[in-house]
């Protein structure tokens, strides 16, 4: 492993899952709870190897159901806490995530997506987009959802995820895929101990003399109260819109825009390059936050450009949000591969060419 010291920062060649785990330790992780599942088991393996020598705790739970409820307990007790899993495991966690969202507990959830439905395949997929950005469990709630497209972003978004989760008291989701988890790239790691965490005053730490008891709950049995909690949550999700992030590449002179998130955005950048070599002016918009969704940038781009192609590793999920954002101003088409298949730039180019005829 290459290693170079840089004023507390380090540059290393690392696998996505391991880089994410190292970033979590450097972000001051207090506790990790998880259950093994391919293709992200390296996260817990790396943590169990390294945490005893550093700080924090890691506990292998008996199931994803248990681990997400451990995340609830630790977050409610004021810890900086995370879990990670892959698609079938995330499905098991949905009940707990709904409780966490309702009780407004900050935590970081990582889904290294694999192909589904069912037990599916261990190859990469983006089939859990709906589950991540539309809630996933019961009731009206959202996760602050970040979609990394490089191993570097697997590192950076751990910090960003914790920051947003704690700022808004929401669960944050890092939505990666099996390829990002498994591939190795050069990463710059921030120095450890630069990201302080204060135990929140609402946490259950023991009822000290002079303060009222702290209660973490998602039960509000009076409908008037439950409605108010829902209104408060919705107001918070609205306020989170200022944190929206996206990347626009060569969109200024483009005749057609590719829209993709995560790994697929990188494939689209290559496809756009190939298209320009053939004289087709193609730009790329990459949503970085999937919730909040970059509605504004898509909508304003559609004032100038009338053709959009959304590419995903699923049957067409984000494309629905792109269409809602563009609201009929432009033609939005979709190209997708499923079941663990990764689209290549050439097949995207073929689709682009057919749209420009």
């Amino acid at each position: 492993m290459e290693k170079q010291e840089l004023k507390g920062k380090e540059i290393k060649l690392m696998k996505g899952n391991e880089a994410l785990a190292e970033a979590a330790i450097r972000a001051g992780l207090d506790a990790y709870f998880g259950y093994p599942i391919t293709p992200q088991s390296e996260v817990m393996e790396y943590l169990t190897e390294n945490i005893p020598l550093r700080r924090g705790l890691v506990l292998q739970a008996e199931s994803e159901v248990a681990s997400i409820n451990m995340v609830y307990g630790a977050a409610g007790a004021g810890a900086r806490v995370m879990t990670s899993s892959s698609s079938p495991g995330m499905s098991l966690m949905q009940e707990g995530i709904s409780y966490i969202a309702s009780a407004q507990l900050p935590c970081l959830l990582v889904n290294v997506m694999r192909g589904g439905p069912g037990l599916g395949t261990i190859q990469p997929s983006q089939g859990d987009y709906f589950q991540a950005v539309k809630g996933g469990g019961h009731g009206d709630y959202k996760l602050f959802t970040l979609a990394p497209s490089t191993v570097q972003e697997m590192v950076d978004f751990v910090f960003e995820g914790f920051k947003m989760a704690e700022k808004y008291r929401v669960p944050a989701m890092l939505l990666a895929d099996g390829a990002l988890g498994q591939m190795m790239e050069k990463v710059e790691l921030p120095a450890e101990g630069q990201f302080p965490h204060v135990i929140p005053e609402w946490a259950t730490t023991g009822k000290k003399e002079g303060r009222k008891q702290n209660v973490i709950t998602s039960l509000f049995i009076q409908p008037e109260k439950m409605e108010q909690i829902n209104l408060d949550l919705q107001a918070k999700y609205k306020a989170m819109e200022i944190e929206v992030k996206s990347e626009s590449i060569n969109t200024e002179d483009a005749d057609l825009i590719l829209v993709a998130f995560g790994l697929v955005a990188r494939i689209c950048m290559k496809a756009a390059e190939l298209a320009r070599e053939k004289g087709i002016k193609v730009g790329v918009i990459r949503p970085i936050t999937l919730f909040p969704f970059p509605t504004e940038v898509l909508n304003t781009t559609a004032d100038r450009i009338k053709k959009f192609l959304v590419v995903e590793m699923n049957a067409g999920q984000m494309v629905e949000d792109v269409r809602l954002s563009i609201n009929g101003k432009a033609d939005v088409q979709f190209y997708g591969r499923m079941g663990g298949m990764i689209p290549n730039p050439e097949e995207i180019l073929t689709k682009l060419e057919s749209m420009m005829k």
């Binding site: 207090d30 506790a31 248990a66 609830y72 307990g73 007790a77 023991g206 009822k207 209660v215």
Partner: protein
């Protein structure tokens, strides 16, 4: 003119410990939950650990335990109280942590979490209230419902062949090396309440030793779910519940070595 309905000398628990919020219990007349809440909180007061205690409430009739127990608490999803309590204790090892669950919560939907929490020997107190029925949802068959017992989902009586047998999860858990102190108590007589008080006290004191899980089952009643008067329900505990769920210590620390040992006949 002040009039005592009960002679204060006969009280087995204090009505107003500072560790209760003073909110009136919502429990049905004759239900054991109120007594168990009071006894548990009285022990927390007597040990002077109110500032250190963090509790976990279940889903079931005692879902609002935090309305009454005046300590920091978390409300867990159905069956997950011991997973939640595990995490609280792991991130705050200096605190006393307890979970409070009914039979459906602990011994049906939460069986995996229950067994693995005890198997890891988490240093928490698990309180298990066994009234052999799902009270809050309207009296359905529970994992501990007795053979022949009529409930909303066993209207002809629980039949072992098609519905399984009542699970003695406390005995099962006592077999695990992580279990440090395991006992079954009740609240149907003043004497039983006194014994339960002592057991809760033991359990919190053992928690300081970091030796493993303390697990206390409390055999209780559900007059509404059992379709009985409170008095009839107490009689029914004696005649039907206790033969199946006998009271007493199951696993206790050896006074000399401090190592947990099984009590004979268990």
């Amino acid at each position: 003119m002040e009039q005592f309905l009960i002679n204060p000398d006969c009280m087995v628990y204090d009505n107003h410990p500072v560790t209760l919020t003073g909110e009136p219990f919502h429990y049905c007349p004759g239900c054991g939950h109120g007594v168990i809440h009071k006894v548990l909180m009285e022990v927390v007061r007597d040990l002077g650990i109110q500032e250190e205690v963090i509790g976990v409430a279940p889903v079931g009739c005692s879902v609002f335990a935090y309305h009454y127990m005046n300590v920091d608490m978390q409300e867990a999803a159905h069956g997950r109280a011991s997973a939640v309590a595990t995490a609280i204790k792991r991130v705050r090892p200096q605190n006393y942590v307890f979970s409070y669950q009914g039979d459906g919560d602990l011994a049906a939907i939460g069986t995996a979490e229950t067994i693995h929490t005890v198997n890891r020997g988490e240093n928490i107190l698990m309180v298990f209230v066994n009234n052999a029925i799902y009270g809050m949802t309207g009296g359905q068959m529970a994992p501990t419902s007795l053979i022949g017992m009529k409930t909303a989902t066993s209207p002809y009586g629980r039949d072992a062949a098609s519905m399984g047998n009542p699970i003695k999860i406390t005995e099962l858990l006592a077999q695990l090396p992580g279990a440090y102190y395991v006992a079954r108590h009740a609240v149907h007589t003043p004497n039983a309440v006194r014994k339960l008080t002592k057991a809760f006290k033991n359990a919190f004191e053992y928690q300081k030793l970091n030796r493993g899980t303390c697990f206390i089952e409390v055999v209780s009643n559900c007059p509404s779910g059992w379709k009985m008067s409170p008095v009839q329900s107490i009689d029914w505990i004696e005649k039907n519940m206790l033969p199946m769920f006998p009271l007493g210590d199951i696993k206790v620390p050896d006074p000399k070595t401090g190592d947990p040992v099984m009590v004979k006949n268990n």
